[in-house]
Symmetry: C2
Subunit: 349 residues, 2 copies
């Protein structure tokens, strides 16, 4: 493989359509057409060229191709802080599913900090065909760039701020479902620990939860939170544990599994049993929260489907096709763990 057996190897450089053409005694355009299965090329010639290309290990230069074709095959990816396992899981699915469609990911940002201008510019410099933003917070620069340059944009796990399509779980329904179940199971003093107060995801989940608590005529839930982190959940858990038993909630929603893990850790560390003394539920369905010691009862987001729909949305907007922004909401699925007391009817099945 490293010693191409043919007559006109490019001087220790890589093979190109031109060098292949020289070696095969045809024109560069013929090589290009043969490799793209253009029906106008005769079977014999095509066969000869394809064989040669394989023998020498020819790899097309996508950069050159996209220069003329206009499609880079690149999708920009902006990730939130990956200490939250949700983002890591989203990333993994993004890579896999993008690859299945022949696209590659240009990873421009990952982390808690705001995205820098130079970083956001890379989306344009590399002529990405589309962009996926999964950060709940600091996506503004990237979103603006996409808007100003007609780059298809889809937000995953957050709704669009002013431009772009979005795919998310029905967050309000998830919060409501959990409230209903907890109440049905007999919980009477509820609490909710929110995440970042500026993100739609956190707000909706808490809203749905609180709405059902009120609808049931129960006292207003206690509220904690402030950021989507284990630390904030832990703080809230400590505060809850410090309450006198008579005032302490008997069930808590962490609006993300990540937060709920922190809550549970704090409660247990304070000597409370979960779910014996207090129920804890989350939303997201991340793997880390499904493992012991958490075994979280949660509403899992259909991440696989969400990413698939996200790529569909991008695909429909590529190649200059203009379409109205679209918001897709998928229903999450209840995952019965062992972190909360639930209605008996659910424990049978």
């Amino acid at each position: 493989m490293s010693q191409p057996p043919h007559s006109a190897p490019p001087r220790s450089e890589r093979w190109t359509v031109a060098s292949l053409a020289r070696a095969a005694g045809v024109a560069a355009s013929t090589v290009s057409r043969a490799l793209r299965n253009d029906p106008r090329i005769s079977p014999e010639v095509r066969e000869r060229i394809v064989t040669l290309a394989q023998e020498v290990g020819y790899t097309p230069n996508v950069l050159a191709r996209s220069l003329v074709g206009g499609n880079s095959g690149l999708i920009g990816l902006v990730l939130g802080p990956v200490e939250n396992p949700l983002y890591a899981e989203l990333m993994q699915r993004a890579v896999t599913q993008a690859a299945a469609r022949g696209w590659r990911l240009l990873l421009v940002h990952a982390g808690p900090g705001p995205i820098e201008q130079a970083t956001a510019d890379a989306l344009l410099q590399y002529r990405v065909d589309g962009c996926i933003i999964t950060s709940a917070e600091l996506s503004s620069r990237a979103a603006i760039i996409c808007r100003d340059n007609q780059v298809p944009l889809v937000m995953v796990n957050r709704v669009a701020w002013e431009h772009g399509s979005a795919v998310s779980c029905d967050n309000e329904a998830a919060g409501a479902l959990l409230a209903d179940l907890l109440i049905e199971a007999g919980h009477r003093r509820l609490a909710v620990v929110s995440g970042n107060p500026t993100t739609s995801t956190s707000i909706k989940r808490a809203d749905g939860f609180i709405r059902q608590v009120r609808a049931a005529g129960l006292p207003e839930p206690l509220r904690f939170g402030g950021a989507n982190s284990h630390a904030k959940g832990f703080e809230a858990g400590q505060a809850i544990a410090a309450l006198p038993a008579s005032e302490r909630p008997d069930a808590v929603l962490g609006v993300s599994d990540f937060i709920a893990m922190g809550i549970m850790d704090a409660l247990r560390e304070a000597g409370l049993r979960v779910p014996g003394d207090i129920s804890v539920v989350g939303i997201d369905g991340v793997g880390a929260a499904q493992r012991p010691p958490y075994r979280m009862t949660t509403v899992a987001q259909p991440l696989e489907d969400m990413m698939e729909r996200a790529l569909d949305l991008l695909n429909a907007r590529m190649n200059g096709v203009h379409r109205a922004d679209e918001v897709v909401t998928l229903r999450g699925e209840l995952v019965i763990g062992q972190s909360a007391r639930l209605p008996a009817r659910l424990l049978a099945g």
Copy 2:
């Protein structure tokens, strides 16, 4: 911004050197030189062109530039299964540090499965300037491709298999250090839970640990393991907890924090106290293991430095410069948590 105020806007397309040149009344080459600060362009002309470019929001097409220059500015990134927080942390640092050098990451793979041929080919198709592999296991296809095509390659957190440079922590020393400390603190029955038996990282860490146990004249450590996962650690923890108290180890090393978390979860679930009844230590220093309820005593890898050295190694091998493969080993740093009984001398400071 979306309404360029100038006379010759490209017909709703993006601006190019050519359209800028037309608008500025100069040649394309002049635009190019002005934007690259070529000293041969007069200050006035340069100023005029730069201002115009900024006004209309011109973004150079990197694909076209790399076609002539030969440098794509892309670094291929191959990640292991990101359920292990270590990989997520490495990724975050890779993005940040690459961006600081003006490079972007082409994320070609992330996950437990083997890397597909089509995926590995993307490294060549996009003409990456270098490649980083942080997967402990399934990197072969990518490594082979890099070797056969003189693509600079550096493995992070594993030693090179047959080609490529590598950056890793002094794994053997880390294992040995932890053994020494545990023994000094009075532990006598030690155990080690390994990861994937084919990875150098796991082997070395266990080796260093076992070596020191033997050197101290203590009985051969119990051995568990088989994969670098929370589940395997959990299994090992359950097995350890099931042993009669007289045979049960009083200290366990999980060769990664991820494994050690699983061990600790199982021990605690079985009613054992950590570190009261049994000490648990890990290696890696991931954030998840530093949080409650783990507060892991561990040897932290200097991830920031490791990634920096990795990029240095790539940089030195770019632009066709050929250098011998290089292996860099950095020393890890002890992090004193609360998961193990340690020598009193350490607890003072």
